[in-house]
Protein backbone atom coordinates (compact mmCIF):
# COMPACT_ATOMS: atom_id res chain seq x y z
CA UNK A 1 0.00 0.00 0.00
CA UNK A 2 2.73 2.44 1.02
CA UNK A 3 4.81 1.32 -1.95
CA UNK A 4 1.96 2.12 -4.33
CA UNK A 5 1.45 5.53 -2.74
CA UNK A 6 5.18 6.21 -2.98
CA UNK A 7 5.14 5.30 -6.68
CA UNK A 8 2.15 7.59 -7.16
CA UNK A 9 4.09 10.46 -5.60
CA UNK A 10 7.07 9.77 -7.86
CA UNK A 11 4.85 9.75 -10.96
CA UNK A 12 2.94 12.90 -10.02
CA UNK A 13 5.78 15.24 -11.05
CA UNK A 14 6.35 13.88 -14.58
CA UNK A 15 2.61 13.51 -15.24
CA UNK A 16 2.02 17.11 -14.13
CA UNK A 17 4.93 18.28 -16.31
CA UNK A 18 3.52 16.49 -19.36
CA UNK A 19 0.08 17.94 -18.67
CA UNK A 20 1.48 21.46 -18.37
CA UNK A 21 3.50 21.01 -21.57
CA UNK A 22 0.43 19.93 -23.54
CA UNK A 23 -1.63 22.77 -22.08
CA UNK A 24 1.07 25.23 -23.18
CA UNK A 25 1.10 23.62 -26.64
CA UNK A 26 -2.70 23.73 -26.90
CA UNK A 27 -2.82 27.40 -25.93
CA UNK A 28 -0.02 28.26 -28.38
CA UNK A 29 -1.83 26.49 -31.23
CA UNK A 30 -5.11 28.19 -30.34
CA UNK A 31 -3.36 31.57 -30.25
CA UNK A 32 -2.23 31.17 -33.89
CA UNK A 33 -5.75 32.04 -35.01
CA UNK A 34 -6.54 34.54 -32.24
CA UNK A 35 -5.85 38.25 -32.22
CA UNK A 36 -3.48 39.99 -31.71
CA UNK A 37 -1.06 38.12 -33.96
CA UNK A 38 2.14 40.03 -33.04
CA UNK A 39 3.47 39.92 -36.61
CA UNK A 40 6.54 41.97 -35.69
CA UNK A 41 7.50 39.45 -33.02
CA UNK A 42 7.05 36.56 -35.47
CA UNK A 43 9.38 38.21 -38.01
CA UNK A 44 11.88 39.06 -35.29
CA UNK A 45 11.92 35.43 -34.14
CA UNK A 46 12.23 34.24 -37.75
CA UNK A 47 15.34 36.38 -38.01
CA UNK A 48 16.76 35.08 -34.72
CA UNK A 49 15.91 31.41 -35.27
CA UNK A 50 16.29 31.24 -39.06
CA UNK A 51 18.90 33.74 -40.17
CA UNK A 52 20.78 33.49 -36.88
CA UNK A 53 21.10 29.71 -37.17
CA UNK A 54 22.21 29.79 -40.83
CA UNK A 55 26.00 29.72 -40.21
CA UNK A 56 25.95 26.64 -37.95
CA UNK A 57 23.44 24.88 -40.19
CA UNK A 58 25.59 25.53 -43.28
CA UNK A 59 28.75 24.29 -41.55
CA UNK A 60 27.00 21.22 -40.12
CA UNK A 61 25.42 20.39 -43.47
CA UNK A 62 28.66 20.79 -45.40
CA UNK A 63 30.77 18.63 -43.12
CA UNK A 64 28.12 15.94 -42.63
CA UNK A 65 27.76 15.62 -46.43
CA UNK A 66 31.51 15.54 -46.92
CA UNK A 67 32.04 12.94 -44.17
CA UNK A 68 29.17 10.84 -45.50
CA UNK A 69 30.74 10.82 -48.98
CA UNK A 70 34.14 9.86 -47.57
CA UNK A 71 32.84 7.05 -45.37
CA UNK A 72 30.36 5.64 -47.87
CA UNK A 73 32.83 5.68 -50.73
CA UNK A 74 35.06 3.38 -48.70
CA UNK A 75 32.24 0.90 -48.15
CA UNK A 76 30.97 1.20 -51.73
CA UNK A 77 34.48 0.63 -53.11
CA UNK A 78 34.34 -2.94 -51.80
CA UNK A 79 31.49 -3.59 -54.25
CA UNK A 80 32.91 -1.43 -57.03
CA UNK A 81 30.04 1.01 -56.61
CA UNK A 82 31.84 4.26 -55.80
CA UNK A 83 29.77 5.90 -58.53
CA UNK A 84 26.74 5.56 -56.30
CA UNK A 85 28.23 7.81 -53.61
CA UNK A 86 25.89 10.65 -54.55
CA UNK A 87 22.90 8.36 -54.14
CA UNK A 88 23.87 7.35 -50.61
CA UNK A 89 24.73 10.92 -49.64
CA UNK A 90 21.44 12.35 -50.90
CA UNK A 91 19.20 9.68 -49.37
CA UNK A 92 20.99 9.82 -46.01
CA UNK A 93 20.96 13.60 -45.92
CA UNK A 94 17.38 14.16 -47.04
CA UNK A 95 15.86 11.38 -44.93
CA UNK A 96 17.93 11.48 -41.76
CA UNK A 97 21.03 13.59 -41.29
CA UNK A 98 19.69 16.83 -42.71
CA UNK A 99 16.54 17.01 -40.56
CA UNK A 100 18.08 15.54 -37.40
CA UNK A 101 21.42 17.36 -37.38
CA UNK A 102 19.80 20.66 -38.33
CA UNK A 103 17.20 20.21 -35.59
CA UNK A 104 19.88 19.30 -33.03
CA UNK A 105 21.96 22.34 -33.97
CA UNK A 106 18.95 24.66 -33.87
CA UNK A 107 17.86 23.09 -30.57
CA UNK A 108 21.31 23.67 -29.07
CA UNK A 109 21.22 27.27 -30.17
CA UNK A 110 17.55 28.24 -29.86
CA UNK A 111 15.94 26.00 -27.23
CA UNK A 112 18.63 27.21 -24.87
CA UNK A 113 18.23 30.81 -26.05
CA UNK A 114 14.46 30.73 -25.65
CA UNK A 115 14.66 29.04 -22.23
CA UNK A 116 17.23 31.48 -20.91
CA UNK A 117 15.42 34.56 -22.28
CA UNK A 118 12.02 33.54 -20.95
CA UNK A 119 13.59 32.20 -17.74
CA UNK A 120 15.27 35.56 -17.10
CA UNK A 121 11.97 37.31 -17.76
CA UNK A 122 10.25 34.94 -15.32
CA UNK A 123 12.67 35.43 -12.43
CA UNK A 124 12.69 39.22 -12.88
CA UNK A 125 8.86 39.27 -12.83
CA UNK A 126 8.62 40.49 -16.43
CA UNK A 127 6.18 37.67 -17.23
CA UNK A 128 3.98 38.75 -14.31
CA UNK A 129 4.30 42.36 -15.48
CA UNK A 130 3.21 41.31 -18.95
CA UNK A 131 0.07 39.69 -17.53
CA UNK A 132 -0.52 42.69 -15.28
CA UNK A 133 -0.30 45.00 -18.30
CA UNK A 134 -2.89 43.20 -20.38
CA UNK A 135 -0.85 40.74 -22.42
CA UNK A 136 -1.09 36.96 -22.54
CA UNK A 137 2.55 35.77 -22.31
CA UNK A 138 1.67 32.67 -24.33
CA UNK A 139 0.37 34.82 -27.18
CA UNK A 140 3.18 37.36 -27.04
CA UNK A 141 6.14 35.05 -26.35
CA UNK A 142 5.29 31.40 -27.13
CA UNK A 143 3.16 31.63 -30.28
CA UNK A 144 5.61 33.83 -32.28
CA UNK A 145 8.52 31.51 -31.42
CA UNK A 146 6.52 28.43 -32.38
CA UNK A 147 5.35 29.89 -35.70
CA UNK A 148 8.82 31.23 -36.52
CA UNK A 149 10.49 27.88 -35.76
CA UNK A 150 7.86 25.92 -37.74
CA UNK A 151 8.47 28.20 -40.72
CA UNK A 152 12.25 28.43 -40.57
CA UNK A 153 13.37 24.92 -39.61
CA UNK A 154 12.10 23.22 -42.81
CA UNK A 155 13.81 25.99 -44.82
CA UNK A 156 17.03 25.56 -42.86
CA UNK A 157 16.83 21.82 -43.44
CA UNK A 158 16.48 22.32 -47.21
CA UNK A 159 19.54 24.58 -47.15
CA UNK A 160 21.43 22.08 -45.00
CA UNK A 161 20.54 19.24 -47.40
CA UNK A 162 21.81 21.16 -50.41
CA UNK A 163 24.99 22.28 -48.67
CA UNK A 164 25.56 18.66 -47.56
CA UNK A 165 25.18 17.48 -51.12
CA UNK A 166 27.62 20.18 -52.16
CA UNK A 167 30.07 18.87 -49.53
CA UNK A 168 29.62 15.37 -50.95
CA UNK A 169 30.24 16.73 -54.45
CA UNK A 170 33.56 18.32 -53.36
CA UNK A 171 34.74 14.98 -51.96
CA UNK A 172 33.42 13.00 -54.92
CA UNK A 173 35.04 15.20 -57.55
CA UNK A 174 38.34 16.06 -55.87
CA UNK A 175 39.08 12.92 -53.85
CA UNK A 176 37.05 10.12 -55.46
CA UNK A 177 37.63 11.28 -59.04
CA UNK A 178 33.94 11.12 -60.01
CA UNK A 179 32.59 13.54 -62.59
CA UNK A 180 30.12 16.23 -61.57
CA UNK A 181 27.47 14.80 -63.88
CA UNK A 182 27.97 11.31 -62.42
CA UNK A 183 27.57 12.64 -58.91
CA UNK A 184 24.59 14.96 -59.42
CA UNK A 185 22.65 12.53 -61.60
CA UNK A 186 22.98 9.82 -58.94
CA UNK A 187 21.93 12.35 -56.27
CA UNK A 188 18.87 13.36 -58.27
CA UNK A 189 17.82 9.84 -59.32
CA UNK A 190 18.02 8.48 -55.78
CA UNK A 191 15.39 10.78 -54.34
CA UNK A 192 11.71 9.92 -54.30
CA UNK A 193 8.79 12.04 -53.21
CA UNK A 194 8.44 10.07 -49.98
CA UNK A 195 12.06 10.98 -49.10
CA UNK A 196 11.32 14.67 -49.64
CA UNK A 197 8.07 14.34 -47.69
CA UNK A 198 9.70 12.83 -44.62
CA UNK A 199 12.65 15.21 -44.98
CA UNK A 200 10.25 18.15 -44.65
CA UNK A 201 7.74 16.68 -42.23
CA UNK A 202 10.41 15.85 -39.66
CA UNK A 203 11.80 19.40 -39.31
CA UNK A 204 8.26 20.78 -39.18
CA UNK A 205 7.49 18.60 -36.14
CA UNK A 206 10.96 19.10 -34.62
CA UNK A 207 10.36 22.86 -34.80
CA UNK A 208 7.48 22.50 -32.35
CA UNK A 209 9.69 20.48 -30.02
CA UNK A 210 12.52 23.03 -30.17
CA UNK A 211 10.37 26.11 -29.59
CA UNK A 212 7.82 24.71 -27.15
CA UNK A 213 10.35 22.86 -24.99
CA UNK A 214 12.40 26.07 -24.75
CA UNK A 215 9.30 28.08 -23.84
CA UNK A 216 8.07 25.46 -21.37
CA UNK A 217 11.30 25.30 -19.40
CA UNK A 218 11.73 29.07 -19.59
CA UNK A 219 8.26 29.85 -18.28
CA UNK A 220 8.52 27.44 -15.34
CA UNK A 221 11.89 28.78 -14.20
CA UNK A 222 12.29 29.39 -10.50
CA UNK A 223 15.27 30.05 -8.29
CA UNK A 224 16.96 33.13 -9.74
CA UNK A 225 19.94 33.02 -12.09
CA UNK A 226 20.81 29.48 -11.00
CA UNK A 227 17.31 28.45 -12.06
CA UNK A 228 17.81 30.09 -15.47
CA UNK A 229 20.96 28.01 -16.02
CA UNK A 230 19.14 24.86 -14.97
CA UNK A 231 16.19 25.61 -17.27
CA UNK A 232 18.55 26.23 -20.20
CA UNK A 233 20.34 22.90 -19.72
CA UNK A 234 17.08 20.99 -19.24
CA UNK A 235 15.60 22.54 -22.39
CA UNK A 236 18.54 21.51 -24.59
CA UNK A 237 18.69 17.98 -23.16
CA UNK A 238 14.92 17.42 -23.39
CA UNK A 239 14.67 18.88 -26.91
CA UNK A 240 17.63 16.81 -28.18
CA UNK A 241 16.34 13.55 -26.72
CA UNK A 242 12.82 14.19 -27.99
CA UNK A 243 14.12 14.97 -31.49
CA UNK A 244 16.04 11.68 -31.61
CA UNK A 245 13.11 9.70 -30.18
CA UNK A 246 10.60 11.27 -32.59
CA UNK A 247 13.02 10.68 -35.47
CA UNK A 248 13.00 6.98 -34.64
CA UNK A 249 9.21 6.82 -34.71
CA UNK A 250 8.98 8.80 -37.94
CA UNK A 251 11.58 6.58 -39.58
CA UNK A 252 9.72 3.50 -38.42
CA UNK A 253 6.46 4.78 -39.92
CA UNK A 254 8.05 5.75 -43.26
CA UNK A 255 10.06 2.53 -43.53
CA UNK A 256 6.93 0.49 -42.82
CA UNK A 257 5.04 2.48 -45.47
CA UNK A 258 7.82 1.92 -48.01
CA UNK A 259 7.88 -1.81 -47.30
CA UNK A 260 4.18 -2.23 -48.21
Amino acid sequence: MYGALGLLDVLKGPVLAIQEFFLLTGRALRNVIRRPHYGDDIFLQMDIIGVGSLPIVVLTGFFSGAVMALQMSRALAQYGQVGRTGQVVSITLVRELGPVLTALMVAGRNSSGIASELGSMKVTEQIDAMRALGTDPNQKLVMPRMVAAATMLPLLTIISDFIGMFGGWIISVFLLNLTSQQYWSSVWRALEWSDVAQGLLKPFVFAFVISLIGCYYGLRTTGGTQGVGRATTQAVVAASVLILALDFFFSKIFVSQAAR
Binding site: T124, Q126, L133, G134
Partner: protein
Protein backbone atom coordinates in the same frame (compact mmCIF):
# COMPACT_ATOMS: atom_id res chain seq x y z
CA UNK B 1 -19.57 59.16 4.51
CA UNK B 2 -18.99 56.20 6.78
CA UNK B 3 -16.86 53.43 5.26
CA UNK B 4 -19.45 50.70 5.82
CA UNK B 5 -21.93 52.30 3.42
CA UNK B 6 -19.51 52.18 0.47
CA UNK B 7 -18.27 49.23 -1.54
CA UNK B 8 -14.61 48.45 -0.98
CA UNK B 9 -12.26 48.81 -3.96
CA UNK B 10 -10.21 45.87 -2.72
CA UNK B 11 -11.47 43.14 -0.44
CA UNK B 12 -9.79 39.96 0.78
CA UNK B 13 -12.19 37.49 2.35
CA UNK B 14 -10.45 34.61 4.20
CA UNK B 15 -7.92 34.19 1.40
CA UNK B 16 -5.52 31.26 1.52
CA UNK B 17 -2.80 30.75 -1.08
CA UNK B 18 -0.57 27.68 -1.05
CA UNK B 19 2.49 26.59 -2.99
CA UNK B 20 3.31 22.88 -2.80
CA UNK B 21 1.57 22.45 0.56
CA UNK B 22 3.21 25.60 1.99
CA UNK B 23 0.76 28.30 2.99
CA UNK B 24 1.95 31.62 1.56
CA UNK B 25 -1.25 33.37 2.67
CA UNK B 26 -3.41 32.00 5.43
CA UNK B 27 -6.97 33.18 6.00
CA UNK B 28 -6.22 36.81 5.15
CA UNK B 29 -9.13 39.25 5.31
CA UNK B 30 -9.18 43.04 4.93
CA UNK B 31 -10.88 45.79 2.96
CA UNK B 32 -9.62 48.97 1.32
CA UNK B 33 -11.93 51.78 0.25
CA UNK B 34 -11.52 54.54 -2.31
CA UNK B 35 -8.73 56.89 -1.30
CA UNK B 36 -7.43 54.59 1.43
CA UNK B 37 -3.75 54.00 1.94
CA UNK B 38 -2.58 50.66 3.30
CA UNK B 39 0.96 50.11 4.48
CA UNK B 40 1.85 46.44 4.56
CA UNK B 41 4.83 45.58 6.75
CA UNK B 42 6.42 42.20 7.29
CA UNK B 43 9.63 40.21 7.20
CA UNK B 44 10.98 38.68 3.98
CA UNK B 45 8.90 35.64 3.06
CA UNK B 46 5.91 36.69 5.13
CA UNK B 47 3.61 36.76 2.08
CA UNK B 48 3.53 40.48 1.20
CA UNK B 49 4.33 40.01 -2.49
CA UNK B 50 1.99 37.03 -2.73
CA UNK B 51 -0.79 39.22 -1.34
CA UNK B 52 -0.19 41.88 -4.00
CA UNK B 53 -0.06 39.32 -6.81
CA UNK B 54 -3.25 37.73 -5.52
CA UNK B 55 -4.91 41.16 -5.48
CA UNK B 56 -3.99 41.51 -9.15
CA UNK B 57 -5.24 38.03 -10.07
CA UNK B 58 -1.75 36.82 -10.96
CA UNK B 59 -2.13 34.12 -8.30
CA UNK B 60 -5.32 32.22 -7.59
CA UNK B 61 -6.35 31.58 -3.98
CA UNK B 62 -6.89 28.03 -2.85
CA UNK B 63 -9.80 29.21 -0.72
CA UNK B 64 -11.50 32.49 0.06
CA UNK B 65 -12.26 35.25 -2.41
CA UNK B 66 -10.61 38.43 -3.66
CA UNK B 67 -12.88 41.26 -4.73
CA UNK B 68 -11.51 44.11 -6.84
CA UNK B 69 -13.87 46.89 -7.97
CA UNK B 70 -16.77 44.71 -6.85
CA UNK B 71 -15.79 41.67 -8.92
CA UNK B 72 -14.75 38.31 -7.51
CA UNK B 73 -11.43 37.54 -9.24
CA UNK B 74 -11.69 33.82 -8.61
CA UNK B 75 -14.73 33.65 -10.93
CA UNK B 76 -13.02 35.42 -13.84
CA UNK B 77 -11.01 33.94 -16.71
CA UNK B 78 -7.56 35.31 -17.55
CA UNK B 79 -9.02 37.33 -20.46
CA UNK B 80 -11.68 38.83 -18.16
CA UNK B 81 -9.00 39.71 -15.62
CA UNK B 82 -7.30 41.99 -18.17
CA UNK B 83 -10.15 44.49 -17.83
CA UNK B 84 -9.74 44.56 -14.03
CA UNK B 85 -5.96 44.79 -14.30
CA UNK B 86 -6.25 47.79 -16.63
CA UNK B 87 -7.64 49.68 -13.61
CA UNK B 88 -4.86 48.59 -11.29
CA UNK B 89 -1.29 49.89 -11.44
CA UNK B 90 1.47 47.68 -10.08
CA UNK B 91 5.07 48.48 -9.29
CA UNK B 92 7.01 45.23 -9.10
CA UNK B 93 9.82 44.65 -6.64
CA UNK B 94 12.60 44.67 -9.24
CA UNK B 95 10.77 47.17 -11.46
CA UNK B 96 10.12 44.41 -14.07
CA UNK B 97 10.73 46.76 -17.00
CA UNK B 98 11.00 44.86 -20.28
CA UNK B 99 14.70 44.62 -21.17
CA UNK B 100 14.07 44.52 -24.91
CA UNK B 101 11.99 47.72 -24.98
CA UNK B 102 13.14 51.28 -24.47
CA UNK B 103 11.62 53.47 -21.78
CA UNK B 104 9.08 55.03 -24.15
CA UNK B 105 7.87 51.57 -25.21
CA UNK B 106 7.92 50.30 -21.62
CA UNK B 107 5.86 53.17 -20.25
CA UNK B 108 3.52 53.13 -23.25
CA UNK B 109 3.08 49.35 -23.04
CA UNK B 110 -0.20 49.36 -21.05
CA UNK B 111 -1.64 52.07 -23.31
CA UNK B 112 -0.90 50.01 -26.41
CA UNK B 113 -1.71 46.55 -25.10
CA UNK B 114 -4.63 46.92 -22.71
CA UNK B 115 -7.72 46.50 -24.86
CA UNK B 116 -10.10 48.17 -22.43
CA UNK B 117 -8.05 51.39 -22.42
CA UNK B 118 -8.26 51.93 -26.18
CA UNK B 119 -5.73 54.73 -26.31
CA UNK B 120 -5.51 56.24 -29.84
CA UNK B 121 -1.96 55.74 -31.25
CA UNK B 122 -1.37 59.50 -31.57
CA UNK B 123 -2.08 59.95 -27.85
CA UNK B 124 0.41 57.34 -26.64
CA UNK B 125 3.54 59.47 -26.93
CA UNK B 126 2.08 62.56 -25.16
CA UNK B 127 0.78 60.42 -22.31
CA UNK B 128 4.11 58.63 -21.97
CA UNK B 129 5.88 62.01 -21.86
CA UNK B 130 3.42 63.23 -19.23
CA UNK B 131 4.00 60.14 -17.08
CA UNK B 132 7.76 60.50 -17.40
CA UNK B 133 7.49 64.18 -16.53
CA UNK B 134 5.58 63.14 -13.40
CA UNK B 135 8.54 61.03 -12.26
CA UNK B 136 11.06 63.59 -13.58
CA UNK B 137 12.57 61.32 -16.21
CA UNK B 138 11.73 63.32 -19.33
CA UNK B 139 15.06 62.75 -21.05
CA UNK B 140 15.05 58.96 -21.00
CA UNK B 141 12.54 58.12 -23.74
CA UNK B 142 15.06 56.45 -26.03
CA UNK B 143 17.10 54.76 -23.29
CA UNK B 144 16.87 51.08 -22.41
CA UNK B 145 16.34 49.91 -18.80
CA UNK B 146 19.92 48.60 -18.63
CA UNK B 147 21.18 52.16 -19.23
CA UNK B 148 19.39 53.52 -16.15
CA UNK B 149 20.34 53.42 -12.49
CA UNK B 150 18.28 51.38 -10.00
CA UNK B 151 16.42 54.46 -8.77
CA UNK B 152 15.68 55.66 -12.31
CA UNK B 153 14.39 52.20 -13.26
CA UNK B 154 12.09 52.30 -10.24
CA UNK B 155 10.82 55.75 -11.30
CA UNK B 156 10.28 54.57 -14.88
CA UNK B 157 8.32 51.60 -13.49
CA UNK B 158 6.18 54.02 -11.46
CA UNK B 159 5.55 55.98 -14.67
CA UNK B 160 4.41 52.74 -16.34
CA UNK B 161 2.14 51.97 -13.39
CA UNK B 162 0.46 55.41 -13.37
CA UNK B 163 0.34 56.13 -17.13
CA UNK B 164 -3.21 54.76 -17.40
CA UNK B 165 -4.30 56.74 -14.31
CA UNK B 166 -5.53 53.64 -12.44
CA UNK B 167 -7.68 54.20 -9.34
CA UNK B 168 -5.84 51.43 -7.42
CA UNK B 169 -2.06 51.27 -7.12
CA UNK B 170 -0.02 48.42 -5.66
CA UNK B 171 3.62 49.06 -4.78
CA UNK B 172 5.84 46.09 -3.99
CA UNK B 173 8.84 47.18 -1.89
CA UNK B 174 9.46 50.31 -3.96
CA UNK B 175 12.45 51.38 -1.87
CA UNK B 176 14.17 48.00 -1.51
CA UNK B 177 17.86 48.21 -2.29
CA UNK B 178 17.89 51.98 -2.79
CA UNK B 179 19.95 54.57 -0.96
CA UNK B 180 18.03 56.80 1.53
CA UNK B 181 17.87 59.83 -0.78
CA UNK B 182 16.54 57.84 -3.74
CA UNK B 183 14.17 55.96 -1.43
CA UNK B 184 12.79 59.31 -0.22
CA UNK B 185 12.31 60.42 -3.84
CA UNK B 186 10.37 57.25 -4.63
CA UNK B 187 8.09 57.60 -1.59
CA UNK B 188 7.57 61.27 -2.44
CA UNK B 189 6.36 60.19 -5.89
CA UNK B 190 3.96 57.70 -4.32
CA UNK B 191 2.55 60.40 -2.02
CA UNK B 192 2.33 62.81 -4.96
CA UNK B 193 0.39 60.28 -7.05
CA UNK B 194 -1.92 59.51 -4.14
CA UNK B 195 -2.68 63.13 -3.31
CA UNK B 196 -3.01 64.45 -6.86
CA UNK B 197 -5.23 61.64 -8.16
CA UNK B 198 -6.86 60.38 -4.95
CA UNK B 199 -5.75 56.83 -5.71
CA UNK B 200 -6.22 53.90 -3.37
CA UNK B 201 -2.75 52.77 -2.44
CA UNK B 202 -1.40 49.49 -1.11
CA UNK B 203 2.26 49.86 -0.24
CA UNK B 204 4.37 46.85 0.69
CA UNK B 205 7.55 47.66 2.52
CA UNK B 206 9.76 46.45 5.32
CA UNK B 207 10.92 49.97 6.15
CA UNK B 208 8.81 51.68 8.78
CA UNK B 209 10.05 55.11 7.72
CA UNK B 210 8.37 54.64 4.31
CA UNK B 211 5.03 54.05 6.01
CA UNK B 212 5.62 56.93 8.40
CA UNK B 213 6.28 59.30 5.49
CA UNK B 214 3.18 58.19 3.59
CA UNK B 215 1.00 58.40 6.73
CA UNK B 216 2.13 61.82 7.90
CA UNK B 217 3.05 63.83 4.83
CA UNK B 218 1.09 65.20 1.92
CA UNK B 219 2.09 66.63 -1.41
CA UNK B 220 1.88 70.37 -1.86
CA UNK B 221 1.26 71.05 -5.57
CA UNK B 222 2.28 74.68 -5.21
CA UNK B 223 5.72 74.07 -3.74
CA UNK B 224 6.11 70.66 -5.44
CA UNK B 225 7.37 69.27 -2.13
CA UNK B 226 6.14 67.00 0.64
CA UNK B 227 5.04 68.74 3.78
CA UNK B 228 3.82 67.43 7.14
CA UNK B 229 0.07 66.91 7.19
CA UNK B 230 -1.82 68.79 9.88
CA UNK B 231 -4.00 66.88 12.33
CA UNK B 232 -7.10 67.54 10.23
CA UNK B 233 -5.39 66.48 7.02
CA UNK B 234 -4.09 63.22 8.56
CA UNK B 235 -7.61 61.88 8.90
CA UNK B 236 -8.14 62.68 5.20
CA UNK B 237 -5.14 60.53 4.30
CA UNK B 238 -6.82 57.50 5.89
CA UNK B 239 -3.68 55.45 6.29
CA UNK B 240 -3.81 52.11 8.02
CA UNK B 241 -0.97 49.73 8.76
CA UNK B 242 -1.00 45.98 8.38
CA UNK B 243 1.66 43.55 9.53
CA UNK B 244 2.16 40.08 8.08
CA UNK B 245 3.87 37.11 9.61
CA UNK B 246 4.25 33.72 7.92
CA UNK B 247 1.28 34.33 5.64
CA UNK B 248 -1.01 35.65 8.34
CA UNK B 249 -2.23 39.16 8.93
CA UNK B 250 -1.22 39.65 12.56
CA UNK B 251 -1.97 43.37 12.87
CA UNK B 252 -4.30 45.91 11.27
CA UNK B 253 -4.78 49.40 12.62
CA UNK B 254 -3.71 53.02 12.69
CA UNK B 255 -0.15 54.20 13.20
CA UNK B 256 -0.94 55.04 16.81
CA UNK B 257 -2.28 51.54 17.42
CA UNK B 258 0.77 50.07 15.69
CA UNK B 259 3.13 52.05 17.87
CA UNK B 260 1.19 51.07 20.99
CA UNK B 261 1.29 47.37 20.13
CA UNK B 262 3.04 45.09 22.62
CA UNK B 263 3.36 42.19 20.16
CA UNK B 264 7.10 41.41 19.97
CA UNK B 265 6.93 40.70 16.22
CA UNK B 266 4.97 43.88 15.43
CA UNK B 267 7.23 46.09 17.53
CA UNK B 268 10.23 44.98 15.47
CA UNK B 269 8.91 47.03 12.55
CA UNK B 270 8.13 50.16 14.54
CA UNK B 271 10.56 52.98 15.04
CA UNK B 272 9.06 55.31 17.61
CA UNK B 273 8.56 58.89 16.49
CA UNK B 274 10.58 61.53 18.34
Amino acid sequence: MPEQSRDPILKFDKVTVTFDDVRALSDVSFEAFEGDTRILLGAAGSGKTVLLKTALGLLRPESGSVWVFGKDLSRLHEEELFEIRSRVGMLFQESALFDSLNIEENVGYPLVNQKSIQCPPEEVRPRVEEALRFVELEGTLEKFPSELSGGMRRRAAIARAVVTAPPLLLYDSPTAGLDPITAHTIIALIVKERDLNNTTTLLVTHRYQDGNLVANFRYNPESGQLEPAGDGQKSELRTRFMVMREGQLVFEGTQEELEASKDPYVTKFVRRRE
